[in-house]
Amino acid sequence: MKKLLTLISLMLVLFCVGIFAYQWEEFPGFFKPFESLAMGGVYTTTAQGLSALVLNPALYEPQGFEMFFYPFVSNNLFSVGSVASQLISNPASLTELASNTELLNSMLGIHSYTMLSGAGYGDNIGDVSVGGFGALQGSVFWNISLDSLDSAELGTWLAYYGVVGASMEFDNLSFGASVGVGMNGSVIPTTGSYPLTVDLLSDPEGALDSIPSDFSNILASVNKAFFVTSIGAAYDIGSLRLAGSLFVNTAELLRNTQLYWLTVGASYNWNILTVAVELEDVLNQSKSLWRKLNMGASVDWDFLELYGGLHAGWLTGGIALDMKFVKIGFASYVTEYSSYAGFTPEQKYTITINGNF
């Protein structure tokens, strides 16, 4: 019994929570669709649909009413999912699960689960393409190692926002801009910098102070307004496209500062094949050149699309079935949290559904 209690206490403190400057790739107001993630993260020359309003408004082309649902899951999905289903069916099994070493193993390391859902509408007004969408976005993050119990981390944030934008084309040159406003907030921690860092060895109970006691009212934490804007341009020379875009968030929640995210790139389209290369987040001086480099390729057979790429050196891939009104896609990709290529990865997956009418 004592053994079980010790293990339960270990599990509890582990779930409660380095001073390590994460290079966040998923944050409120900014997202990449699965096509981009599967293509090594490139977007500034290839963005499509409503996501283009955020990634590069110059490429926005209205497709009527659109809706999207993107769950981004970590590579321990099956263990976590199994536990969640067990807990839902039998809440009393918590103590049993606490001694599940397979679960403990799967929880170690960096893991995050992000969800994005939204809908919007766009149309052409004269020569101008106009569109907008509303979205709900949220994420859970943790970083745990038994070797670093003095710096375990946990974070959860939520955001909802709306974005409107427009694009225009002058011969081979396209321009676009968008603006958005929303509310976001850190659910864990409720105060202080994100994510919550806890020294489990000295003050495990202190961690609990930063975790809301009543999760039924978590929307109360979503109380910080933020504004986003994005401007972009693209220039086509035959099949070659050169493009750049700047995304700005006036009060980026995770970094607790203004964010300027400039990306430049080029792509080449040859029949069904598109290849793209870009430098992402160019203004960030902490990131190395290799860390900023994304490369990708896609093959489009109308009903079937294949993707592959390199994101900060990590191989990515994906596939999509395009069934006229509904597009279902799967991407396997890596989120890189480090300033350098390949140092702090998290393998992730997404199965996404897009609909347009």
């Binding site: 206490s9 390590f20 193993n105 170690l108 050196g313 191989l315």
Partner: protein
């Protein structure tokens, strides 16, 4: 023909998705080389910390090892740093220099990363023992509740008499059954042991010292077990007959110990190492609040006399009463 084309397409797609899930990075070595060649101490430490966080142990070890190399004037080359975990001679040099030097603040920061990265890279981190960590701690007589910050302070009742023979005997069986290959690699175990001991010494007032003491104790018993079992001094114990027998039938550890030759038998160098490592236990016990007076063990020359592992236990226990 059409079917063949579709089949090939799907095979290519599935292969690409599989490869993309394998965690292969094609740019990492460029950044690592650049940092090792031209990075400042601050850049190396911060990037090593990032690599450690991401489980990129080889990179973390190379970067933090580079800082240690500079601080300790070891002059380890870039290529050697990148393969540090496999270089037994360099690991031993590193361990012995660390033990003999007063470390600067940067060196201590680097050592923290080196210990965790070396443990991760060699499969000897606490994460690797997650399956059996609590059990191992209790078998070693550790108060896991105290170490992990819980209120459970009485996992193992202390006894008036401390039987070192029984203690080591239990430990050896525990160590052998801990995790595959955990007590292999004598040099890496020594580096981890020395590193944890130095970190406990340097962070005596910090909250992290129990964590290093706990790790240090596990590495200490692993090192002691390695010295006892490893007959041919190749650093590997999993190729020894005794290890094989006890793995197969842990309950008969006493019988097998009566048949197996002790690694310290007629080996003064290993015996001296044993005595040195044994002495470190006291530091770890002190930090962990284990209220046991460690009994004296015979000197290193005496430990070379017992022929079998069982006889060695008897000798170890003889002065303990």
């Amino acid at each position: 023909m059409r079917f063949k084309g579709i089949a090939i397409t799907w095979i290519v797609v599935l292969a690409a998705l599989l490869v993309s899930s394998c965690g292969i990075n094609l740019f990492r070595s460029f950044d690592l080389d650049s940092l090792l060649s031209t990075g400042t101490t601050e850049e190396k430490l911060s990037s090593a910390d990032e690599a450690l966080n991401g489980g990129s142990y080889t990179e973390a070890l190379a970067l933090a090892g580079s800082v240690l190399s500079e601080e300790l004037n070891l002059d380890i080359g870039v290529e050697d740093l990148k393969t540090l975990i496999d270089s037994t001679e360099t690991l031993l040099d590193l361990a012995e220099t660390i033990a003999a030097t007063d470390l600067s603040e940067d060196a201590i920061s680097a050592l923290e990363i080196v210990v965790k990265a070396a443990a991760g890279a060699s499969g000897k981190s606490l994460d690797d023992l997650a399956d059996s960590l609590i059990e191992i701690g209790q078998d070693l007589g550790l108060d896991m509740g105290a170490i992990l910050g819980s209120a459970d302070k009485s996992v193992k009742e202390s006894s008036d008499e401390f039987d070192i023979g029984e203690f080591i005997e239990t430990s050896v069986a525990t160590m052998i059954n801990m995790a595959e290959g955990f007590i292999d690699g004598r040099e890496i175990l020594k580096l981890l042991l020395v590193g944890c001991h130095e970190l406990v010494d340097s962070t005596l007032t910090a909250d992290s010292s129990p964590m290093y003491a706990f790790s240090g104790l596990i590495y200490d018993f692993s090192y002691l077990s390695n010295l006892i079992i490893d007959l041919d001094d190749d650093g590997t114990v999993s190729d020894e007959e005794f290890f094989d027998n006890v793995s197969t039938n842990p309950a008969s550890v006493v019988y097998y110990s009566q048949q197996a030759t002790s690694g310290l038998y007629e080996d003064l160098e290993d015996s001296e190492e044993f005595v040195w490592a044994y002495d470190l236990i006291e530091t770890f016990f002190g930090v962990l609040g284990i209220d046991e007076a460690l009994p004296e063990i015979p000197d290193s020359e005496t430990l070379t006399v017992p022929e079998t592992i069982f006889d060695l236990f008897e000798t170890l226990g003889s002065d303990a009463s």
